[in-house]
Subunit: 108 residues, 2 copies
């Protein structure tokens, strides 16, 4: 089929899955890393940093935006992107909780 059965899972499960799915591609990880490489937001130039064609990069940026992982503001004929800190925190919080629960567990 190819379509995910989201309706059977909780909102939280779907939310975390959407965030991790959006990060589940090396190009999108590379974009995130580039966006934190400077002290300000990154205006333009993202395409030149990646080994992919411009439409492909644009598509990856769109997916990160859809997952609310990055924000883009139009600045002249360039677009300034930065990471949405809140979404990163959501990921950290979620997996920290899991790690905490794992401390009290014994694996066979």
């Amino acid at each position: 089929m190819g379509a995910t059965k989201t309706e059977h899972f909780t909102d939280k499960q779907n939310e975390i899955a959407l965030l991790t799915k959006a990060l589940g591609h090396p190009a999108r990880i590379a974009i995130v890393e580039y966006l934190i490489s400077a002290n300000n937001c990154i205006c333009g130039d993202i395409v030149n940093e990646l080994p992919l064609a411009q439409p492909t990069v644009s598509q990856h940026l769109k997916e990160l935006k859809n997952a609310d992982l990055i924000k883009g503001t139009i600045e002249g004929n360039a677009i300034c992107y930065c990471i949405n800190e809140k979404s990163i925190e959501k990921i950290i919080d979620y997996f920290l909780k899991i790690a905490t629960k794992l401390k009290n567990k014994q694996c066979c």
Copy 2:
């Protein structure tokens, strides 16, 4: 095409992308949550916990195993699964570093 161009990215980028990709499905998030719900490893019964057919669950377990996120040991005719703490820590470490770098940044 559909095939990811992994060869253009760093090992670390590919590693994180593989981990997040494996977690990028609500069923696999639900499996992880079920595996931390008890104090021991979970032996059998995973299929009954999910709203999906047995082959589908088996496939999701396989993907989590391939990403080294869970470990399974055969115990009679059941299989005992538990989470690989190290992989969860890898995720936490990676995104904590990103969050730290974000603290020193100003978004436009």
